[in-house]
Each structure stands twice: as C-alpha cells, then as structure tokens.
Symmetry: C2
Subunit: 548 residues, 2 copies
C-alpha cells in the first residue's frame, strides 16, 4: 500500500477514550429492560436475551476473565467511516486484557463466517489501518445471516478456530440478526457470544442509548464540504440552481445535518413529505415558489438538498412503486424482451390500478423509465438508481415555464444535478469518529471479556469531551418491535426516522424561510485533523441540537 502523507501522519493519532475505559473496568448493571413495543412477542422469541439490564462501565476492579480468548469480527453492509477504528479498538482492548487474545476478521462480510473465509489480525495488519477510512481491512458484504443452516455453519467455523465471541458491525438489520444469532447460540449452549456495533451512515440506527451511528459525523462533513463549495460557486457565478441529492434512503438525517451545516435555500425532508401526505406536484410547487421569490430579488441561483429516498416517502409514489414491483415481478420475461421504453410504459400502464395509472402517466417519461429499471435481488426498485435530482429539475423547469407564460415569473432557471454518496462513505474518520469508533470497539472488547451476549456496544454523552463519554452495553432486544417484512411479522430494531418534533428538525424549520429568501450560505470546508479544537473536534449539529 502506498500511503498518502495524510495517511502516514494520521497513523500516529491516538484516539481518545472515555475515562472509564482507560484502566480496569467495573461493569455496573442497571435495571432490567423491555423492548420498545410488542414485549410479549419479543420476549417469547428471545427467551435468553430478553430483559437483560443495561450495562455501564466505571473505572474500578474488573471481574473479567483473563484466560486467553479469540474473537471474530464481521463488517456487514455499506461502508461507513471509522470501521477500521472499531476493529483497532476491539484489538487493543483485547490485547490489553491478555496479549495472548486473538482477533480474526471474517472476509467480505457475514458471508465470510459461513464460508469460513478469514484472516488473523495482528499488529502488522492493524497498524496500517488505524484512523483510515474504508472497510478494506477485511472487506464487507451484504449476505444476511437469517437461516439456521448459516448459523450452524458459522458455529462450526467458530469452533474450529476456537472463537469465543463474534462482533458484528452493522446497521439495524445486521444487529437484529446479531441478536437472533446470540439467542440461537445461547439456546444451543454453544459458548459463543455475539456483540453488535451500531453502524449506518444514514443515521437511522439511533435511540436513547445510541446517540449516533458511527461514520455519520464524517460523511456529513464531507458532503457539507462539497455543498459549501457548490454554494460558494452558486453565489459567485449567480446563474445556477444546484439540486443536490444525498444518501439517506430510509431516513433524512444526512440531508437535515448537512442543511444545518450549510444553510441551503431549500431542504426536502422525506419524513415531513410523508407526514403531510405531499404529492410530487406539491414538492415541485414548493421548490418553484422559492425559485420565483428569489428571482424577484434578482437572485437566479440557489441550492436544494434532496434525500435519496424521497420518492418512496410520497404516499402516492410508494403505492405506485409497490404496484410496479408486483407487475414487473410477474411479467419479467415479457417486459425484458420489449424493444423500447415506450412499449414497456404502455404495457405497464394497462396493468396498474386506475389511480396509479394516472400518477404513472403524469410522470416525465425519463423518470417513468427509471421506475421500470432492473430490480434489486429482493425485487425492489433500486432507489439509488433513480435520478430524483434530475426528475425535480425537469419538473420545476416545466412548472416555471408555465408560470412564465402566465406572467407569474420573470427569472432565468438553469440547474445542475449532483448526487453524493460514495464520496463520503469511505472518508478517513474525523477526530470525532476516530475517537467514537475506537471507543465502541474498546467497549465491545469489555463486553466480550465480561461474557456478555446479545448486547450492542454503546457510547453516550457524545457532546461532552471524550473523557466524559459514558460507555456500556445495551440489550439489542430493548430496541426491537415487530414489523411486517416480506409478508410475515418479524422482530426488528426500530428504524429511527427524523422526528418532526425533534430539536434538529425544529432548528431547520425555524430558519428555513430566512435561508430560502436570503443567501445565508455557510462554507464548512474540508475536515481538519490538526487545527484548533473548534475546527477539528466539533460533533454534528444534530447531536448539539439534541443535547441542548
């Protein structure tokens, strides 16, 4: 690996730990817990891992075992900045307890456990990855651990390697599966523990005990750097509207955080669109209104932030997509042999319900075509392939043309679309994420040494200095409820959407009219690792607002 100068300089950064993790750790048990809903069902499904107490760590006499143990680590799902620091935290925590402890990495995600693809992680390896972005140390993957056959194979592979515990670093689904696995291993009295670490850039794995998921800070800062640069360009050239789509399929936390960091003219929050039952036309009306008002002030430029999942949050579009998923699944061969998109549209429109046929016909052709694109392996439309930013540009353009004809608008509208996702997922972690991820990994090592299973590592009080952070473990069952998935009720971790009564959204709501009318852009610039603390160590605006 040829390392960049920054990478070399960052190798020597020592992540900050909570005070309680610096010496030996005493584990304090809190009250027994209940799941957030459906307590009856969840407790029945998780007889061994339900109702466990919240654990918090304090400096003190450790009751942990000092017999040598081996731990397997798995990275699950999409990349998030700081994954390597979680692993180095686990590694350092375990090595401190007993230098004979071993860490294995399963390769390419959960599939590596089932297929017995692994490599041992040693100083030689770990030291090259400290404070770096990416999941390339062992790779990630999207195989879901859901079947008993997979569990048994995984257990067999653990036994062969002498592995005492697994750490699964993943999002809500992966942590749900981690808990199912923990429960299964306990039922089997296998002696293999399972610990989860909360990861999802979208920020939707979040609750009272998980203040933020790792990587969210870094990714939002990278996106905000770019949005700020684009806004400065818009305000210099004064001739373009920039429509910027951001990651966030199932929640709009990223768009919200980036808005608070950069103060754009328009921010669409999917959760608000859904709550207000807004149609695509109403979203277009809203954006157009801002464009028209700014044009009246002579400002024919601006920025619009759009969360990736927007169209799925519009009730009408959601219904349309669901009908399309069915139609395309049942007519795969017929549709795939059609020569033109026009044929496909005409075929599909006949099969849609009357309501949805009308919605489908109202869409620009290019967008209607995208909705008929190849499905993902689960038969769902691939939302990240939908060019929502271009759809909105085209529809706003059409609306403004009408308004111009009617004498209601006298500006110029020229727009550029952008989509930021891959640009931030593997950025080198900010100081915050470097510290937070390392602490999460270290926390996982303490939970393992204490013999815990079915817990998620938790580090809280994140707006305070790292030394005051509160580390501990949260029973995963505590975050669960029952939801319908693929036609059956399943226990899953509740997704955290943007709360419309929450402080971050209220901060946006309070200021957005002013940001729309005026040009009040903020330019955060790139993540800094070495400068003054107010530049290098600030947590997200979301965390700051929530802790007010």
């Amino acid at each position: 690996m040829i390392k960049s100068p920054l990478q070399i300089a960052r190798e020597s950064y020592n992540p900050k730990l909570p005070e309680a993790l610096k010496g030996t750790v005493k584990i304090v048990e809190g009250n027994k817990t209940e799941s957030v809903a459906d307590q009856g069902d969840i407790s029945k499904l998780f007889p061994n891992t339900y109702g466990m107490p919240i654990l918090s760590f304090e400096a003190g006499e450790s009751a942990a075992t000092d017999k040598a143990i081996s731990v397997g680590v798995i990275l699950s799902g999409g990349q998030a900045p700081g994954g390597h620091n979680v692993i180095s935290g686990i590694y350092d925590g375990l090595k401190k307890l007993n230098p004979a402890n071993k860490v294995y990495g399963f390769l390419g995600g959960p599939g590596g456990l089932v297929n017995n693809e692994y490599s041992e992680l040693t100083d030689d390896v770990i030291d090259h990855y400290r404070n770096t972005g990416g999941f390339d140390i062992i790779g990630s993957g999207r195989t879901k651990l859901e079947e008993e056959a997979q569990f048994d194979k995984g257990l067999e592979n653990c036994k062969a390697l002498g592995i005492n515990a697994l750490v699964i670093i993943g999002g809500d689904d992966s942590n749900t599966n981690a808990c199912v696995l923990a429960e299964y291993f306990l039922q089997k009295k296998s002696g293999v523990q399972v610990i989860g670490v909360p990861k999802t850039i979208d920020g939707d794995l979040k609750n009272e005990m998980i203040e933020t998921s790792f990587g969210f800070d870094t990714a939002c800062k990278v996106y905000s750097e770019l949005i700020g640069n684009i806004q400065r360009d818009a305000n210099s050239a004064k001739k373009y509207w920039h429509f910027i789509k951001l990651m966030g399929r199932s929640a709009s936390h990223i768009a919200l955080e980036c808005a608070l960091q950069t103060q754009p003219n328009v921010t669409i929050i999917s959760e608000e669109v859904e709550a207000n039952n807004m149609t695509l036309g109403e979203v277009i009306d809203h954006i157009s209104e801002v464009v028209v008002n700014r044009a009246a002030n002579g400002e024919n430029f601006g920025t619009v932030l759009i969360p990736e999942g927007l169209v799925e949050f519009m009730p009408a579009m959601k219904k349309l997509i669901s009908e399309l998923n069915d139609i395309l699944a049942h007519n795969e061969v017929a549709v795939s042999t059609m020569e033109t998109n026009k044929e496909r549209r005409e075929f599909v429109v006949k099969k849609l319900s009357a309501d949805m046929a009308e919605v489908f016909r109202s869409l620009p052709n290019s967008f209607a075509n995208q909705l008929m694109l190849d499905r993902d392996p689960h038969g769902n439309v691939q939302v990240s392939m939908i060019e929502t930013e271009k759809l909105l540009i085209d529809m706003v353009k059409a609306k403004l043309k009408k308004m111009k004809k009617a004498g209601e608008y006298k500006g110029k509208f020229s727009a550029q679309g952008h989509f930021f996702g891959y640009e931030g997922r593997c950025a080198a972690p900010s100081n915050f994420d470097a510290d937070y991820c390392y602490s999460l990994g270290y926390t996982a090592s303490v939970l393992i040494a204490a013999g815990k299973s079915g817990y998620m590592a938790s580090v809280r009080n994140l707006t305070a200095p790292a030394s005051e952070w509160i580390a501990g473990g949260v029973p995963i069952t505590m975050m669960m409820n029952m939801e319908r998935r693929h036609g059956a009720m399943k226990p899953v971790i509740q997704k955290a959407l943007v709360r419309l009564d929450g402080a971050p959204f209220n901060a946006l709501k309070r200021q957005r009219d002013e940001w729309a009318a005026n040009t009040m852009y903020v330019y955060p610039g790139p993540i800094q690792y070495f400068g003054p603390s107010e530049v290098c160590d600030m947590p997200t605006k979301t965390l700051l607002e929530e802790s007010k």
Copy 2:
C-alpha cells in the same frame, strides 16, 4: 455572513511571499521578447506592447511612484480557488506603497467595467475574504471585452473613477483581451494600464513563465480527495466500477494530476486519444480490456478517470460535432418544434455527410440525443452537459456483454458515474494556492506601481519554499500566436495541452499498466491547513514532475 469555524481560523493565515516582495522591490529588465509564433503578425497588431522585456523582482531600491493611485480589479470567467487572495495581494501591495491608494472591484466580471458597476474594496470588505474560496467578493462573469465600443465605455468609466490601472484575473482568452485592451489604451495615450493574472482551473494557461495557473492545486486536491474516497469504497465493497469525469474541456491536466495523486486503474488523456487518432470504439476496447483482465484476477471493481473534453478530442467525434453545430444552427426552428428525439435524430442523420451519418448511427440513442441538446451562445455543443461517463459505461457494458457471449469474459460489471467540477472550483485555497495567489496579486501591484502595461503577473520556481519564488512580469504578447477563431485569424495566447513528451504524462505512462492490473490506490484525504508541512504544503505532482 455566518462564518464556519474553519473560515474564522483561516482569516488569520498570513500568506507567504517571495523574499523579493517583502521589502522595497527593484525591477530588473531582462531581454526583449518575441511571441511564441507568428512574430510578424503579432508585432504589427501590438506595436506598443510587443517585444517588451521580461521583468524580475529583487529586493532593493524601488523606483516606483509614491503618488496615490486607484486600481480596478475584474474577475473573468469560471471560478478558481484563490481569486480572493489575488485581490487581497493587490490590495495589501498597493496599500503598503501608499495608504491612500484605492482598489475598486468591478462587479460580475468584465461586464461590470462596461456597465460601470463597481464597489470600493476596503479593509472592512477584504478582511472577510482572506484565504477563502469563491469569487463572491465582487462576482465573476463571462462577458468578453473584444469591441472598441466596450473599450471606450470602460475607459470612460475608469476616467470617471480616477482609475490608473486595471487588473484582469482570467484565463487565456481574458488575458489575450487584457493585452488587446492594454494596447488600445496605450494607442489612445489614455494613461490607464492593464495587467493580467493567469487563472484557469483546467491548467491550460501554462508555459515557461507561468508554471501553473492558480486554483489548479486546490481543485485537483479536492477532486483527488473524492477519487481517493471512492477508490477506498471500491476496494472495500469490491463490486463497482466507478467512471469519474473531471473538469478539463480543452486540456487533460486535471485528470493527469488526479491520476498521479490517486493511482486509478484507467486514466484517459484526451491529448493522447487525439494524437493516436483513436475512435470512441478504441477507447471502449481499452477500458474493456482492463476490466476483463481485472475480472480474471477476481477483481470486479475499479476506477476510470475521464477528462470532460474527451469526445471533442476524438477526430471523428470532433468532425461530427462540427457538422451537427452547423446543421442545428441552420435548422433551429425546425428542430426545436419536433416532438421526439427520434424525429430529431432522423432529421439530422439525413443532413450529415455519409461518414458522419455512420458515426452518428453507431452511437447509443441517449448520447446522440445529448449531442443535439441546446447550444451555448456561440452555437457550440455544451460539452459539460454531455454525460461522457455514462456513455462510456453503456458502451463498455455492451462490449462486455458481447465478450461474455463469446466466452472471452467471465466477470460481473456494475458501474457508477460521477462528475466533479463545481465541487472544487470554489474550495478554500490550499496553503500553496493561498500563498501563490497572494504573491500573484502582490506582483500585480508592483507592476502597476512601476507603470507597466500589457504584462502578466508571474511567480515561478514554485516547488521551492515560497521565500525562494521568483516574481516578475511577462509581456502577454510573448505567449501569443495566430489562430483561426470564428472564421478569422486572431492573436491568442497559446493553450497549453498535456505534453505527451512531458514528465507528468511520462510518469503516468510508466506506471499505468501496473495500476491497471493491480489495486494500488492512494487515498490523499482532504486538504489540510494546519498539520505537518508534508501534509499541508506540497505542490502538485505535475509541478514536482516538471521540476525534476
């Protein structure tokens, strides 16, 4: 303006100056100069500004006037990081000579001079913009100063404000026009000097005396940050090919610099495509070959860098675009009233020459449609609107499908397109650009005080520490030759393309086969302003290679 913490921290950065500019400056005259070509024509067109000597600055007794002067500043064309520092350099240089000196900014580009839109720049204003990105201090614009009527109006406005000199900060065309204006003002004995400052992100304003244009360093570092992040993602997920289009319509310096910084699998250099007379099909063959070879090693992922101007460098495409420009210009009404792209394509194909009709028919429809998009005000296809990255993805996909059928390829190909332009043009300048731009501005102030006109500010020896940089002035006529523009021969500054015998291209050529076959990505990370010098103060690889 609400300032970000980084912006506030950067306000107090003191740009480094060449030693010669720190005290009083002695101007040393070198030999008389000649234009790079067409000396007879150029000398006739520029009787007052041709053949002037190169000027270099040394510490020493200044012969500059100390009578109070007023200077007008103009930002011309696309944004580049560091424009604000050029202005603060001019300002500080002039104020040091005489605190009564005044600086005016003409608003919104060269149009501001003609329309007499200006504002005085004072400490209050300047101090908010030190070391920031963007051109928002006075705005920029693309009005070309070419007509005598504009010159006369500009002169009248300068006279009214008591302006003694103009500084035009712009690219090759704007500096050509600056020289034409200088010559005109001298012929008129107007007493108004004109000085140029070299700016173009694309890096195509470059020669022996102008080692790099400002902003190139910062923009390339922002793009390389993003490319590095994407490469780390590619190497973690191991499932996508990323096709990344980069700014650079008339030269591929940005793609080349970013390649040297990040070591991607494929880098297309437009100048090489042109020199080898490559067709679109041959470019596709080349990329496909790399994809196939990597797939054979089990690596179904990678990165491809593509310069924005690529299609215009392919001789066949260049001819096709030129024919299309003519056809669309002569049939504007007919084409614009057609309902569908299919109609348009069929209309156009009948009017093309037989050769070009064949090329046009061989293109994917979506791309053929883009070639018929709205023209720019000069009747040219808007290259930045052509989604070359998607075109290449579609064509590589089609090629691989054929190869798979023929049993020549056994991989998976899934690709993502990106385009980076606006993301970097207004980034806060790197330390290098902050220093370089400030020095350029300061140099301009010295040239003005010495009564010079028709000169471009030049700061050289840029791989040495800033104190050893060599500042001075270069006669703009020295960089000129005659070229055909809009059907007539015009004096213009020669564009600097990537030299295929140059050190930077050779560095790519030497290593690219290795980078293609293996995964040797480098992850530069974001621009740092405060860290160790090897992280914060490195010039571009292009400069380093050229100075070896």
